[in-house]
């Protein structure tokens, strides 16, 4: 008897894992770490590496929620403006003597309200999220500019400084711990729950998902709420780190966050991506900017490096498939 077996998968799980985006990115991250260690004598120093994490922790917190949103086929470009508005709200509250707990609640609440506003416009009115959030990007920051003008809020309570400047243990900052906890929560949420599966389903085929009984609108609304909430958390950390609020706070962060998400392997058209990928991408961006900063490389060169990295990390797997298919 001559039996021929049909493989139920083309690659072994190990092979697939090795060829995955995350492994490629991890190689890039290790490469950058090694290169930095050789390039600058100041790189391998616990305190310096700890300082370096501040370059990405706040952005990465938002990037996790943004990743889910982009996987579901939507986007939120108003995140940096939500930071500005939440920070302004906290600043105003601090002026009238509200304590740290109150400020944190106000920051989170502002984020949630902004997220809900985006969510309602997108899900209830069926407007495209890119247009809605370009609008709210100007709206939220505009409100901050009206409230503050060229003024700044200072005088936050002294224990408020812990969120952005405090250390939990030795060189491990509070922000870094928060970043790690949030990463785990989002990882579990996206990869191990039904809700996570529905996010992928919606991103791959919203109509199909709807007819499969998934409440598409509700899921998307929750994702916008989460993005708003994460922006609120980032606002608390950043405001605490800066110790002051100006309406220009976090300008341009929305694109850096989207870059982080896409670099992490999330398909900008929705449907695929992973949280570990975004975590590695956050480290890659943080290591690149900090490493180049130690060499006093001008910022514009850093932007070129990040841009080149993004394009090559996206193009290489595509080129690889084209080449191996020949």
């Amino acid at each position: 008897m001559n039996t021929r077996s049909i493989p139920d998968r083309l690659q072994s799980p190990l092979e697939r894992k090795l060829k995955s985006w995350e492994s490629l990115l991890l190689l890039v991250a290790i490469g950058i770490f090694v290169a930095n260690s050789f390039a600058s004598p100041y790189f391998l120093n616990a305190w310096n590496l700890s300082d370096a994490t501040f370059n990405f922790t706040e952005k990465a917190m938002i990037a996790f929620a943004m990743a889910l949103l982009i996987i579901s086929g939507e986007i939120d470009l108003s995140v940096a403006s939500i930071i500005a508005l939440a920070s302004t709200a906290m600043g105003a509250a601090a002026q009238v003597g509200i304590g740290t707990e109150g400020l944190v609640l106000i920051g989170l609440a502002t984020g949630l309200v902004c997220g809900a506003f985006n969510g309602v416009l997108v899900t209830a009115l069926g407007l495209p999220s890119i247009v809605v959030t370009i609008g709210t990007m100007s709206l939220f920051r505009g409100i901050s500019f009206i409230i503050l003008g060229d003024q700044a809020y200072r005088g936050y309570p002294s224990d408020f400084a812990f969120f952005g400047q405090g250390y939990v243990w030795w060189v491990i900052s509070f922000e870094f711990v928060l970043f790690a906890i949030i990463a785990v929560i989002y990882g579990v949420f996206l990869h191990m729950t039904n809700f996570g599966r529905t996010v992928y389903a919606i991103g791959n085929n919203p109509t199909g998902a709807l007819f499969s009984g998934i409440r598409v609108g509700r899921v998307k609304f929750i994702l916008f709420l989460l993005t708003g909430l994460m922006s609120g958390i980032a606002a608390i950390c950043l405001t605490s780190r800066l110790g002051s609020t100006r309406p220009s706070i976090a300008t341009g962060w929305e694109l850096e966050i989207v870059t982080m998400v896409v670099l992490g392997g999330v398909n900008i058209l929705g449907g695929s991506g992973s949280i570990p990928g975004v975590v590695i991408a956050a480290f890659v961006m943080g290591l690149v900017t900090f490493g180049l900063g130690l060499l006093n490389v001008p910022g514009i060169v850093m932007s070129i490096v990040i841009g080149g990295l993004l394009i090559s990390v996206i193009a290489l797997p595509r080129l690889w498939t084209m080449w191996s298919a020949r």
């Binding site: 100006r246 300008t251 910022g299």
Partner: protein, 330 residues
């Protein structure tokens, strides 16, 4: 097994890095970082030139000229963090935000780094001293006077500023508004903000011309704004009707002065400013007491006032008679 190779790799690396560290530390040059609002701005390039001049004069000083890509406080904090990590001896900063950079600069001072601000100041607790290029009242008066000089019968003037949060510009505009009654007939109709971006400043200048057809002068107390306004006025064919003045760089403004769109403008010398900031940073880093007289080399000495700041010199007016002498310098 795999893990072990990785650990030894890291260990090897740290050793290599440690060795590189010792060689880098061996050269005992004092490193002074000149941190600017953003790279690629003519004014700051000129300041860096002055800093290098000071370094050459002092000897044994290395200048690190650095700054973020765009004028944000967050970008400057990343730069400050990397300078702290490198253990520089002194930081001389022109801040994008007087408050937001304070925690980072405080940390720098905690680690023994001399911190001064120049041009655009930092709140008192975040620096040891601040060097103003000139005094605010003098600049406010100068920019208004430049416009009024060419409007004998009075008329409407408008201000095109940088961002709404620019510390310098806001102080100068406030000072100009204060002395406005000294110029009877001069009417300040609007203040607009071009965010120190060429295209936005150009559009704001166009908007001013459309909204106020009788406008006699645009005052732009920013090097980006004055150039954009001059281009907007030239493009609209209003040379002679509207005089563009304010603060600009001679090299950039030469064409405007030649075409007549700008009759005169003022600026302090950024080369002198970078030079003086470096001299002061060097003095303080070598242990000079900040409460006494601080030497600025060829620029003389300064004494700090009760807010810990000092003024370098008076602003200087440039017009068709002297622009050719300066346009090649900065």
């Amino acid at each position: 097994m795999k893990r072990r190779t990785f650990t030894s790799l890291v260990a090897g690396l740290s050793m290599a890095a440690g060795m590189m560290g010792t060689t880098a530390m061996a050269q005992d040059d004092m490193r002074i970082a000149l941190v600017v609002k953003a790279l690629g701005i003519g004014f700051f390039e000129a300041a860096a030139e002055g800093a290098n001049e000071a370094a050459a004069e002092l000897g044994g000083v290395e200048i690190i000229y650095t700054g973020p890509t765009s004028t944000t406080a967050e970008g400057q904090i990343e730069v400050i963090n990397s300078l702290i990590a490198q253990g520089v001896d002194a930081i001389a900063i022109s801040a994008n935000d007087p408050d937001a950079v304070v925690p980072a600069l405080k940390r720098a001072m905690d680690r023994g780094i001399t911190v001064i601000s120049w041009d655009s100041g930092v709140a008192e607790e975040g620096r040891m001293m601040h060097l103003n290029p000139s005094s605010t009242p003098l600049i406010g008066n100068t920019i208004l006077k430049l416009a009024a000089d060419h409007m004998p019968d009075g008329g409407e003037v408008a201000i095109l500023s940088a961002t709404t949060t620019s510390t310098n510009q806001n102080a100068w505009i406030a000072a100009a508004e204060e002395v406005l009654p000294n110029y009877p007939g001069i009417n300040l109709v609007a203040t607009v903000y071009g965010d120190d971006l060429s295209d936005k400043s150009y559009r704001e200048a166009q908007g001013l011309m459309q909204t106020y057809p009788d406008l006699g002068a645009i005052i732009a107390p920013t090097t980006v704004g004055i150039l954009a306004a001059c281009q907007a006025v030239s493009d609209a064919g209003k040379i002679g009707e509207i005089n563009v003045t304010g603060l600009g760089l001679p090299s950039e403004m030469a064409g405007c002065v030649e075409s007549g769109a700008t009759k005169s403008f003022a600026i302090w010398n950024p080369i002198d400013l970078g030079y003086s900031a470096t001299m002061i940073a060097h003095s303080l880093a070598t242990g000079t007491d900040a409460s006494g007289e601080i030497s600025m080399g060829r620029m003389g000495t300064v004494t700090l006032d009760d807010t810990g700041s000092a003024a370098m010199a008076d602003p200087f007016t440039y017009d068709s008679s002297n622009i050719d002498d300066f346009k090649d310098i900065f």
